[in-house]
């Protein structure tokens, strides 16, 4: 198990190197001049040239990439943001708590909503409530995040005045609407996934045997069936967590939350390559670690997998 974990952690190095190279290449070869983005269209040609030299943009692509990796490996230096002049990790880490809180609360909501409703929907297959949940989950998955966010703001901030419309100054209250915005679509996905895997499990022979032996229905469903149905659901939860971390751009933008998604968009607009790279590398790292945790969690859910890891 430890050997497997170490192996997976070591694999992170080539993954992160590959991600860095791809993002560096994309940022470099997409049109747009950081000097113009930073200084504005009114700036003089001389000023732009001076800035290019200051930022090292006059060096060839491969040398710049090599220098970038060298600084990371030798000094853990991810460079300075073109936009703010701060070390990029200062800017990036200042935003991690917001994104992590949003991703975590979103995932909790999605899981709390999706898992029990998915089980209920499977157990009550073809009932009115099952039909309602299937239709509702389809609608919620298909609903554009932007629209849902604006709807929530209009109802709860503008008309009812119960919750703040944006920002993070109101503490945990600020997270309620963004959490619903990011959590509900993923909750619907989890619901649908749980329903389909549960439907397979409750038709298995061992379930019939358990029922025949007189095991209470709750134990049959929640202990025997659900445990076996959980593997694909855990994968969905894990990937959803990663997706929310990096993909809550719209929620962060509409709710004016200073998170990583908002920073990536701003940095891409400003052609702030060091900042984009730092954000994406951090997200890739988070995603890889979450997926590793998901794989390790399999072992606790399914003893067969634990045995495989041990080999």
């Amino acid at each position: 198990m430890v050997k497997y974990t170490v192996k997976r952690l070591l694999l992170l190095i080539p993954i992160l190197l590959g991600v860095a190279f791809i993002i560096f290449t994309i940022m470099d070869f997409t049109p747009g001049d950081p000097a113009i983005r930073i200084l504005g269209p009114e700036s003089s040609v001389e000023a732009r040239e001076q800035l290019r030299v200051e930022l090292g943009l006059n060096q060839p692509f491969l040398i710049r990439f090599f220098e970038y990796i060298k600084d990371i490996v030798l000094n853990l230096d991810f460079g300075e943001s073109y936009r703010t002049g701060n070390p990029v990790f200062e800017d990036v880490f200042a935003r991690v708590p917001v994104s992590l809180t949003l991703a975590f609360s979103g995932m909790v909501l999605a899981t709390v909503m999706g898992l029990p409703l998915g089980v209920y929907s499977a157990v009550k297959q073809y009932s009115k409530s099952d039909s309602f949940l299937r239709v509702a989950s389809t609608v919620l998955v298909a609903m554009p995040t932007f629209w849902l966010a604006m709807l929530l703001i209009l109802v709860f901030a503008l008309y009812l005045g119960w919750l703040p419309s944006g920002g993070v100054t109101a503490g945990w209250m600020s997270y309620i609407l963004p959490t619903i915005t990011v959590g509900v679509p993923y909750g619907s996905k989890i619901l649908r996934m749980t329903r389909s895997t549960m439907l397979e499990e409750i038709r298995q022979d061992y379930v019939r045997t358990a029922r025949a032996k007189g095991v209470p229905e709750k134990v049959v469903i929640y202990k025997h069936s659900l445990q076996n149905a959980l593997l694909p659901v855990i994968t969905t939860i894990g990937t959803s967590f990663g997706a929310i971390m990096g993909g809550s751009v719209i929620a962060e933008s509409v709710f004016n939350m200073p998170g990583l998604g908002q920073l990536i968009v701003l940095s891409i607009e400003a052609k702030d390559t060091p900042c984009v790279l730092a954000c994406v590398l951090l997200l890739a790292f988070f995603f890889a670690v979450v997926m590793l945790l998901v794989d390790l969690f399999y072992a606790f859910v399914d003893p067969r997998i634990k045995a495989k890891y041990s080999k």
């Binding site: 049109p31 747009g32 001049d33 000097a35 113009i36 930073i38 200084l39 504005g40 269209p41 009114e42 700036s43 003089s44 040609v45 001389e46 000023a47 732009r48 001076q50 800035l51 200051e54 936009r83 703010t84 002049g85 701060n86 800017d91 200042a94 935003r95 604006m150 703001i153 209009l154 709860f156 901030a157 503008l158 009812l160 005045g161 119960w162 919750l163 703040p164 419309s165 944006g166 920002g167 993070v168 100054t169 109101a170 209250m173 600020s174 962060e252 933008s253 509409v254 709710f255 004016n256 200073p258 908002q262 920073l263 701003l266």
Partner: protein, 508 residues
């Protein structure tokens, strides 16, 4: 039954909790609560010589002061200077400074601070264009500063508005690293700033002209304009620049005052005059007469703009006088005649020449381009639209034939040499037009000391430029500002310096 009662009770508790804690609208603000001002741009840094972001400038305008400020009519008014003299050759400016200005750290503002601030701006790239005409700056005594210019230009005075005077002691103590701090002589002190969200200001009680009426201010970045508008409606925001598309929800609301201000910014269809058949003046003139600018304003910009003849307006730009220029109005028949005269009596398909109109997708300029496409179709001209994400880079490199663009100008027509003169090619002269007469007239007017003579020269030049039709100017933007009725606000016609909060007060 018992279960239902429990569920009902929980629901009532949750609703009660939200109602009690809600940050939403309705709650009356006291005068000590900060006045919240919206900015659509994120903050970059509080180092004045390292940033061009409008949001940073919005903070600087409250915290710092400059030698002089440009007023809405284009004239320049003394601020930290009491007055100034200009040498006969126009190359030396001597400023006498006020003696009672103190920085927020308690230091008296002296000529050495002015010299230090200007030298910092001259060393760094970000705002170099505002000081590049200065060859030296020196302190004559504690309250007198002398600038020597490398060329005669009236823009030097206009640009003093862009150089905040910093405390030398403060900058040196912080080794130039003060991303989240500021120390000026302005009416507000910077209490704190989170570059990702908001800046908090409080009035400087020892301000030389008396303490400001508004005690606390928060300049808040909101990334989405719809959210910002909702915040205005709920009372979380007090002052904001409103997008025309958001006006519908505010127009009939008595809780706000609304003011429209014409800014120094023009939307144009830029033309590359070196590309066939756009190198033909008659074709360019036809393109101008074919453009129904008022329809574009009404449809694409909700009516909040004024028709443009040039990349500058006579409403707020010194020396702009169109009285000698031929008025270019929407006239499809005249456009057809000009096309026929240019050798295209049966119309023109721009695709045959590889000419397309590059458009910034998803903006009002895209709508403007679509209407213009219809206008051109009416005179037999076919023009395809193409999306671009790098309009500034393409326009400056001349890597385009036609393009939607917006151009800012300054309160003095001499600035427009960068948009019409040969020296602007590779920069803001998107037309790539190199005309010795235009260059000569700009140079002549720039070195002319007498304002009336300068104005006459510009009048002649403007008539010539409009005749050359190097672009299709569409409209001058109007900005719409809305603020809570608890305030009396003053807004200015500059996209860079819209607010001096010192001028505001609470309504009676």
């Amino acid at each position: 039954m018992k279960k239902k009662i429990v569920v009902l009770l929980v629901l009532v508790m949750v609703v009660g909790m939200f109602t009690a804690c809600g940050g939403g609208g309705g709650s009356a603000k006291s005068e000590d609560d900060p006045v919240v001002v919206y900015t659509p741009d994120i903050f970059n840094t509080m180092v004045p010589y390292d940033t061009t972001a409008n949001s940073d400038q919005m903070v600087f305008d409250q915290v710092y002061e400059t030698l002089a400020v440009t007023q809405d009519d284009g004239s320049v008014k003394a601020c930290l200077a009491t007055d100034w003299t200009i040498s006969d050759d126009g190359l030396e400016y001597t400023f006498n400074l006020v003696k009672d200005a103190t920085f927020h750290n308690g230091e008296n503002m002296k000529a050495s601070d002015v010299v230090f601030s200007y030298e910092k701006f001259m060393e760094t790239a970000a705002k170099k264009n505002f000081v590049e005409m200065i060859s030296s700056v020196e302190a004559v005594d504690d309250y007198t500063v002398k600038f020597t210019l490398s060329k005669v230009t009236p823009l030097f005075l206009v640009y003093t508005n862009e150089v905040p005077i910093m405390s030398e002691k403060f900058v040196t103590e912080n080794n130039g690293e003060f991303n989240d701090k500021a120390c000026g002589t302005g009416p507000y002190e910077l209490v704190s700033i989170d570059l990702a969200t908001a800046a908090e200001l409080t009035r400087y009680e020892d301000y030389r002209l008396g303490a400001a009426a508004i005690p606390n201010v928060e300049i808040r970045y909101v990334s989405d304009t719809s959210t910002a508008t909702v915040q205005l409606e709920t009372g979380e925001m007090d002052v904001m620049k409103v997008e025309p598309t958001q006006m519908e929800s505010l127009e009939n609301n008595d809780n706000f005052s609304i003011e429209e201000v014409q800014t120094l910014k023009t939307a144009v269809f830029a033309i590359n005059c070196t590309v066939e058949p756009l190198d033909n003046k008659l074709v360019r003139q036809a393109l101008n007469y074919a453009c129904d600018k008022q329809s574009i304003i009404d449809v694409a910009y909700e009516g909040y703009a004024t028709v443009a003849q040039l990349q500058a307006s006579d409403a707020n730009c010194f020396g702009v006088d169109f009285s000698e220029a031929e008025e270019v109005t929407y006239d499809p028949e005249k456009a057809k005649e000009l096309l026929a005269e240019a050798g295209y009596p049966d119309g023109l398909n721009f695709s045959d020449y590889g000419v397309v109109l590059d458009v910034m997708g998803g903006t009002y300029l895209e709508k403007a381009a679509q209407i213009y496409q219809q206008n051109l179709a009416e005179i037999g001209v076919t023009l395809e639209l193409r999306n671009t994400s790098t309009p500034d880079e393409d326009a400056e490199s001349g890597n385009f034939a036609m393009m939607t663009q917006t151009l800012s100008y300054r309160a003095d027509f001499s600035y427009n040499v960068c948009q019409y003169g040969t020296s602007g090619i590779g920069g803001n002269n998107f037309s790539q037009l190199s005309d010795p007469y235009i260059d000569e007239m700009f140079a002549k007017a720039e070195s002319e000391g007498d304002q009336a003579t300068r104005q006459e020269l510009y009048k002649e030049l403007i008539a010539y430029i409009i005749d050359q039709a190097p672009s299709v100017p569409i409209f001058h933007h109007e900005l719409i500002y809305a603020w809570s009725n608890r305030l009396n606000c003053v807004v200015h016609d500059s996209t860079v310096h819209p607010y001096y909060i010192y001028e505001w007060s609470f309504a009676e």
